[in-house]
Symmetry: C2
Subunit: 337 residues, 2 copies
DNA sequence: ATACTAATCGAAACCGTTTTCGCTTGATTA
DNA sequence: TAATCAAGCGAAAACGGTTTCGATTAGTAT
């Protein structure tokens, strides 16, 4: 392995000068700097990340925290899209991405301990229980963090427009003539609450009244739970004409139930998803849904995170709203009112 | 941050002894070792990973290489399941997982350079172009690697039983009375070739002859391509009664086309997927498919990789076959022959 | 000629571990 | 008793960078 020593020898300078030249200090003449850069190039010099980190305490790597009790984390299309975008952006800026875990060398640890152990420069937090002590500790620590769809006081976050999303979706449904609109929502979280607000706002605004029993809870990303909720809804003597599902994936469960009941979409009942996954575009009929701009969310998250890593003084906490957009699909029928 | 120095001072020994005690050398009396361990515990000592790595040249982290031209990598359920399992197993053994990329500090680099830069202990390779020079260089290097669904000479690999998989699937279809069986396969790769072998083997064994035009190429994970292939097949004057699709996800495209043509599954035409994703279980009807044991693949991959990292002498290269199993679903009808 | 300044560079300390090798000490053996 | 030996421990040298601070030199002003 070639080290600064080798370059120094070849150029007849000290290791100090090599280091300075390579890191662009103003402390070395342009001529020698150039000579050193060329030598480094020729020798395929690659700095020893451990040595550098030991001295500077910067690891040039970011942690991602994806909690995964149900072990579904990475197979969740919305989150894996965020992660993918985050990874690409981090790479572009020369940072590496590492999964935060609760194990260090086989021993149990907290997230914060793990982040410190690896000297992570920053952590991207998504899909976790934001009430857990461990997560709170991490956010409260000296390590810069950014959270997805949740805001801690005085910390940056990326927020998708959940209120707007359900508002627009509901408005759209109403515009198609529907009045009996059901909403199967996920477990109650801050995100769910926002979606409920958007839902009711749209209804109120259009003076549409629905019975309470049209709003039922299932779980996100759980087709089976959604399936049961769907059955319940459709067995009412006065069933809805349109159902909004927790997300695109769990819609599959609802769709299966409808198919089994011999009901077609959108002929017999209209449907909407949420997320705007790739999948929902290739279904038949294509699902109407609200597309969260997951790619932009991941990208912006990492951009902001790196900013606060590199400019701790000037970088202010910020809530970054990412607008999504409605994806019409063909799963909502037009009915006469 | 507490260091070995602090522990040494508190216990009245040298840092050397602390290090030895903490790493379980036989060179320190049980009494002092215990004292040191307790002190470390009390002080919440956490070794400095950079210092350790600088000295030992072990990073205790593994790279994963997921090439991603189409940017679909992480959203591919099969691969993300492998990754998820790999991540869990790595965590369990105290290794961290880091994405291999082609950027180092913002500069373009090769995978090998990146792996060396981070001193990765080993690399898990999946979903890449195994013919690319960069990948070959990485495998040929001093860094232990393990590949998924492809074997390099003298290197370990995890192989799903692609021949067996398509063989069993085809046999099953035949057992249900089908004779006109079509196969939409993915682009030609070593995996695809194996699946074709299994397909033809089953046919031959059962003396079923199909016209060549029943075997068409689409692309993996591409519902649109599959959709076109499906249309082509069903427009034949003598269409197949059963279609095997490249994978579960691209099946969605085929299914959409069939629906649009007014054909029901399995009433009018039977279908099979490949992979055994969670998704295919919640479709209606549940898709018959061959379940690749992605979780076991990821787990075994990391186990073997760590083994070859920790026991470079004794650990032999190995091709590890992971058996999958047929998932019947309800998408293949029983027809009279 | 002298004093002062700015530019350029290097010696050396340091980051926190691991590891070699030699020193003690007390026990064992001839 | 003297020689041998093993166990337990520590001093010090790495590992490969970064960074401080002082030294040198050349240029400029007086």
């Amino acid at each position: 392995m070639v080290t600064v020593r080798d370059i120094a020898d070849r150029c007849g300078v000290s290791t100090a000068t090599v280091s300075k030249a390579l890191n662009g200090y103003g402390d070395v003449s342009p001529a020698t700097a150039e000579k050193i850069r060329i030598a480094a190039e020729e020798l395929h010099y690659m700095p020893n990340v451990a040595a550098r980190q030991l001295k500077t305490n910067f690891s040039h790597s970011l942690g991602v925290l994806f909690e995964d009790e149900t072990n579904v984390g990475l197979t969740h299309e919305f989150f894996s899209e965020i992660l993918n975008a985050a990874k690409n952006e981090a790479e572009r800026q020369g940072y590496d991405i590492l999964f935060l875990s609760r194990n260090i060398g086989g021993k149990r640890a907290t997230y914060l301990e793990h982040a410190r152990y690896r000297r992570l420069d920053g952590v991207l937090i998504a899909n976790v229980d934001y009430d857990s002590e461990m997560v709170k500790d991490l956010v409260a620590s000296e390590i810069p963090t950014i959270t997805i769809d949740y805001t801690f006081n005085d910390h940056s976050s990326i927020l998708s427009d959940n209120i707007e999303g359900l508002y627009e979706l509901t408005k759209y449904i109403i515009s198609q003539g529907h009045r009996k609109i059901a909403f199967i929502h996920g477990e109650i979280t801050s995100v769910t609450k926002k979606r409920l607000i958007g839902f009711y706002r749209a209804l109120t605004e259009s003076k549409v009244r629905i019975p309470d029993r049209y709003v039922v809870e299932a779980r996100y990303h759980d087709p089976q739970a959604t399936r049961e909720a769907t059955r319940k809804l459709m067995n009412y003597s006065d069933p809805p004409t349109c159902i909004i599902f927790p997300d695109d994936y769990s819609y599959l469960g609802g769709k299966a139930e409808l198919s089994e009941m011999g009901l077609s979409v959108p002929g017999d009942v209209s449907t909407c998803g949420y997320d705007g996954t790739q999948m929902c575009r290739v279904l038949y009929p294509p699902l109407a849904t609200y597309e969260q701009n997951a790619t932009e969310m991941g990208e912006r998250a990492v951009k902001k995170l790196i900013e606060s890593v590199e400019n701790p003084k000037t970088c202010r906490p910020e809530e970054i709203q990412i607008k999504g957009s409605i994806l019409m699909g063909h799963s909502v029928s037009r009915i006469r009112s």
